[in-house]
Symmetry: C2
Subunit: 340 residues, 2 copies
């Protein structure tokens, strides 16, 4: 059952390996009789094509790597799911690679000493800068995910973070909120992601004629929900006053929710809160989260399209694609109250 080779099938069926191969791969020009005879031999032997052999011969592995910090983070897990499903329909399997959001991990990834394991890679860098990624100059087709500064030579897919941050901040402004904070960005070494979201947040405030107040920027020692609980809780205890919070991501928003609730501050009555990513759980927190929802399906589809183009020979300069996002309004920031 296990070690059945193409050869064995050919012998049983009394045909050449070529013919068996043709049948296995559904090659059109095979006579029905042949096909049936070969198929019978395949069935009786329980033959299963050996991928490694095929892959060595074709030079294609059918595998793509999906690399990011940590699949335990809901956004990445949900991204992995979408990518994995999209890849499947295109005939690819996904190999998971985690970098732990460390420079070391990301370097190991791009400098990997082995070749030919995967046909291409989707990579969302956490810390690596544009220059270092560019220097990489590997032969492995690569598409970048997310807003990390991308070298001009590489393809990249992201949503418009500045615009989205502007929109969600404007949503808060429309509800009459005026002291709007931003929470959950890095304490030091601001990521490009945080930078762009803060830029959009400031842009909305300024357009509304509000001077951004730097004390309303609440960084987090750890980029996690627990980190946000600490940060936001600490800020409140230190006397910081605000009536809304734009959080860097849904985990930070969940942390902020807890920090507020621990202190008996009502959400959204006293403080409105928004998240980012629209992870599944953001719909069932209490209150549920108003958040930026990236079009993950489009993100995955676009990234895979670009990658496959690279894998099949495209060699132009980097394409930078923007996919859609929308603001999902839920309880934590319900928007202007309807007039009754």
């Amino acid at each position: 059952m296990g070690g059945v080779r193409l050869q064995d099938v050919a012998e049983l069926a009394g045909v050449s390996m070529k013919t068996v191969s043709n049948v296995v791969r559904d090659y059109p020009h095979v006579s029905p009789r042949m096909r049936e005879k070969v198929q019978r031999a395949i069935d009786t032997l329980g033959y299963k094509p050996n991928m490694m052999g095929r892959r060595l011969a074709t030079g294609k592995t059918g595998l793509i790597a999906l690399a990011f910090a940590d699949v335990g983070i809901p956004y990445f897990a949900e991204l992995a799911r979408v990518v994995s499903r999209a890849a499947e329909t295109l005939g690819y399997r996904v190999l998971l690679e985690e970098t732990d959001a460390t420079l070391e991990g990301e370097r190991a990834l791009v400098a990997t000493s082995e070749a030919g394991l995967v046909d291409g890679m989707l990579f969302q860098p956490s810390v690596m800068g544009s220059t270092e990624i560019a220097r990489h100059r590997s032969d492995l087709p690569l598409v970048l995910l997310g807003e990390t500064a991308a070298p001009l030579t590489m393809d990249r897919v992201m949503i418009d973070n500045v615009a989205a941050a502007d929109e969600i901040t404007s949503h808060l402004l429309a509800s009459g909120r005026r002291r709007i904070g931003f929470a959950g960005h890095e304490l030091n070494g601001l990521s490009e992601t945080s930078r762009q979201r803060i830029a959009g947040y400031q842009q909305a405030l300024e357009r509304a004629g509000i001077a951004p107040d730097p004390t309303l920027l609440i960084p987090s020692a750890a980029i996690s929900a627990a980190g946000a609980v600490e940060a936001v809780g600490g800020a409140i205890d230190a006397g910081l006053g605000f009536d809304a919070l734009v959080c860097r991501d849904d985990l930070a928003a969940i942390g902020a929710l807890r920090a507020l609730q621990e202190r008996g501050i009502g959400v959204p009555t006293d403080v409105e809160v928004t998240g980012w990513d629209d992870i599944r759980l953001s719909a069932v927190t209490f209150p549920s989260l108003t958040t930026v929802s990236p079009d993950l399906d489009a993100l995955a589809a676009t990234a895979l399209r670009l990658l496959i183009e690279r894998m099949t020979g495209f060699d132009g300069t980097g394409r930078h694609e923007i996919v859609a996002h929308r603001i999902v309004v839920r309880e934590s920031a319900p928007g202007p109250v309807a007039v009754h």
Copy 2:
């Protein structure tokens, strides 16, 4: 840079392929001079060994598949992370396979028409029964994860669900709760997971002299947080009274939390709630969740050990291993109040 072959290195260095191969694989018996000469050739050519070639020759792929329903579910995502890290230290990479918790998806998985892509598989079935898994009779080394009824021929790793459910229910009883419900199991087609957890829950109640009340079993149309919001909310609205809820998993607990809070019912004051899995977010919900915490590291390590034994020839009957769990006490069910 891309198409450098072992052969090319050998020619440049003026040695045989065997020698180059020895150097690449750190074979001990190579003279230092040779090694250095070859290494120089490797560097100038930028040679990277082609995995497919090596794998075809050795018959090993270095890949293991990790299969479960949906990586978008936090428990699975966190499991994937732990398995992926553990596998890495053992020299394996992880290929993600999702079944969408459908029979169809699980069948496709075990009946996969290709062979040799992965050396082995870790599989947590959702719907497939013991008999069907056994019938599979594949040549692929396989270790089952979780409490699905496992055929005697197969290895399996799980925690003691009955014991854990008993413990966490007893924890509630120790706080003086008497009308304890169970929530979040399947509406029809009870999974083995739910069955065992309910068994442990009933066992604890009976030992405490409480007759299990079937109306306190609150099934969920969808096994998700949103499903639990509906189910628990509906039960409350229908007039069901209880002072504690053992939830099938953390997502159900999060849903229960929301359903209770929506109705102004205090947790843990009015109703205590417990979860299962100890997903990262269970520590930052408000209130945070008392939950069953499986030893994921041990689970992954054990599963990989069993799998590697199978891959390297072990052919005995199925081993069924139990790994540790503990009850993590948090705010949603704080336990007996300390006497001041």
